[in-house]
């Protein structure tokens, strides 16, 4: 398989775009056909809102803060914001949201970010280093632990780096495919999880799905990215699809929505 050449990657009519913009657009497109999405803080927030304005107009946004069917008039900095309530279908207590919506099995996609991820999609958002004496104290689970277990599937969006795509995560906050697909399927069945685990990881370099062994596989590389860059920013030898695709570049409309409507201050797209 040859490296896709830069010239093939983006249609000539598309504008220049940042790696973050490509990542957000790629993540949004993966939501096509999904019905109910649990929105996490940060990059998931903008990707999901872009999806609602493009490929998934009937997507129902669930914010762990308690809003269902939100139609935010602006992109909120936090996942708790008055704009996600005004005009929403329902505003409920967190007990109800976590009990009936998430644990009750109504969430199709849980959309998470992470500090560390391993090849099987297990996620750490708790600490770097030892738990009791951490080098870096990260925010912790929030809802990520129960989202990974109860959402029907999990999407992950995060930038690649050797520090984040690691052979061994320092702490398992959210279970992915554990030590592999077979074990994970057995444990999910035995323990009565509703979730089938992670199904896609979107990074600033490409799009990964999970193969039969439960391991991440690069299925699409973003225009401008190279396999060398991919390998340099992953702590293991990544699997690459035989027919590696090139992610279609952001369209003019996608970029307009991100730049003018969702992120006019440029907080996410730099």
């Amino acid at each position: 398989m040859s490296e896709p050449r830069p010239a093939e990657r983006s249609a000539p009519e598309t504008q220049a775009f940042t790696k973050s913009e490509m990542m957000i657009v790629a993540a949004a497109r993966e939501l096509a056909g999904q019905r109910v999405c649990f929105v996490g803080v940060g990059l998931p927030n903008i990707a999901v809102n872009l999806a609602r304005l493009t490929v998934a107009p009937s997507l129902e946004l669930v914010y762990e803060s308690g809003a269902f069917g939100a139609k935010p008039a602006r992109l909120p900095l936090s996942i708790g914001d008055p704009t996600i309530v005004t005009g929403a279908t329902a505003a409920v207590s967190m007990f109800e949201l976590f009990s009936f919506y998430l644990q009750g099995g109504l969430v199709d996609v849980g959309f998470l970010g992470a500090a560390q991820i391993d090849r099987f999609g297990n996620i750490n958002s708790t600490v770097i280093g030892d738990y009791d004496h951490p080098r870096t104290r990260l925010p912790g689970s929030g809802g990520a632990c129960e989202i990974a277990i109860n959402a029907r599937q999990v999407f992950v969006i995060m930038r690649q780096s050797k520090r984040s795509f690691v052979d061994r995560i320092d702490f398992r906050t959210s279970p992915g495919n554990l030590g592999g697909a077979e074990t994970a399927a057995r444990i999910r069945r035995e323990e009565g999880w509703l979730g089938r685990g992670p199904s896609v990881v979107v990074t600033d370099l490409g799009i990964y799905h999970f193969d039969d062994s439960g391991e991440m596989r690069l299925d699409s590389i973003h225009p401008g990215a190279t396999l060398d860059q991919v390998r340099e920013t992953i702590g293991w030898e990544p699997r690459v699809a035989v027919s590696l695709a090139v992610t279609p570049a952001p369209t003019v409309e996608e970029l307009r929505l991100i730049r003018e409507q969702l992120d006019p201050d440029g907080a996410y797209r730099k």
Binding site: S65, A91, R137, P139, G140, E146
Partner: protein
């Protein structure tokens, strides 16, 4: 019987050194005014419980009020970390801070068990994670029906829960709208409750819409009327989240010295919320007003004699 009092008196009488204190509110209705008064009164050795410690606990930790945090997400949402807390956790600077960590649903379950006087709350979380190892209070429990095992969390019963809301009557019957978080559960779980409101209303306003009542006066010890008491958090229909301050705090809190300088100016340096608001200035406040009204509309309960 009116329970209306000043923030100073409410905190002096209701909050004691060593208490477990929960100032709840998931991004919405976080009572910064109460947190600042606790700092001013130099309360000590508090255990601070909140799903999301947010800036208010970063400030309270920086001010030395706390010895321990009970939480599920430790960050400045959309911005980054909480630096005063991280200094204490990562560097024991100026002193260690004990952590007791759950997930969001675990914390919600803990308050629910506390409010319901249950010895535990069961949930489908924590499977195959390191959280039960990090916190041995997260324990497996076998269902009495079939072989299934889920996890349990223990009840959380704060000594004091502080709730900010749009309105209450003088007895403490409290109504809120927008994101409800887990304020209800945290209040029912608590031994003592302080309600802080934007507006004190007549009992008749509450009784006109009983389904809107979140907390009954029955469990409330003090009612404080403190407009803008949630800033830089927000009040649905009242004022917006001050995202600029959330971003500014990231820089302010990166060093202990600048953090203390901020506390000196904005907390110790003012007598209370009224002065803080005056200091913020009318332009800042005006910029946080909603751009228009979005009325709920009225429903009819009917008169039945």
């Amino acid at each position: 019987m009116s329970k209306v009092t000043s923030m100073r008196d409410a905190v002096a009488e209701v909050v004691h050194d060593g208490d477990v204190v929960a100032i709840e509110g998931f991004t919405h209705l976080i009572c910064f005014a109460a947190g600042h008064e606790i700092i001013r009164q130099r309360k000590r050795d508090l255990t601070l419980a909140r799903l999301t410690p947010d800036l208010i606990y970063d400030q309270m930790v920086a001010a030395g009020t706390a010895r321990k945090l009970v939480f599920s997400w430790l960050g400045n949402p959309g911005v980054g970390g909480l630096h005063a807390i991280r200094r204490r956790v990562e560097d024991d600077d100026p002193a260690p801070l004990e952590l007791e960590e759950y997930s969001h649903f675990g914390m919600v379950g803990r308050y629910t068990a506390g409010a319901s006087n249950l010895p535990f709350f069961p949930l489908r979380s924590y499977f195959e994670t390191d959280l039960p190892k990090a916190n041995p209070l997260i324990r497996p429990i076998k269902s009495p029906y079939g072989d299934e095992t889920v996890y349990a969390v223990p009840p959380l019963k704060p000594d004091v829960t502080v709730v900010h809301a749009q309105r209450a009557d003088a007895e403490g019957n409290t109504q809120m709208w927008g994101l409800l978080g887990c304020q209800k559960e945290a209040a029912f779980a608590a031994k003592r409750v302080i309600v802080v409101v934007e507006e004190l209303v007549d009992e008749a306003v509450i009784r006109a819409d009983p389904n809107r009542t979140v907390i009954p006066g029955l469990i409330v010890d003090a009612v404080v009327v403190e407009p803008w008491g949630a800033h830089p958090s927000y009040v649905q229909g009242g004022y917006d989240r001050d995202n600029h301050f959330y971003r500014d705090w990231d820089a302010i809190s990166r060093e202990a010295a600048s953090t203390q300088a901020w506390l000196d100016e904005w907390v110790y340096g003012v007598s209370g919320r009224a002065e803080y608001i005056e200091k913020l200035g009318p332009e800042r406040l005006a910029s946080l007003r909603p751009s228009g009204a979005a009325p709920s509309g009225s429903v009819d309960y009917g008169i039945y004699r």
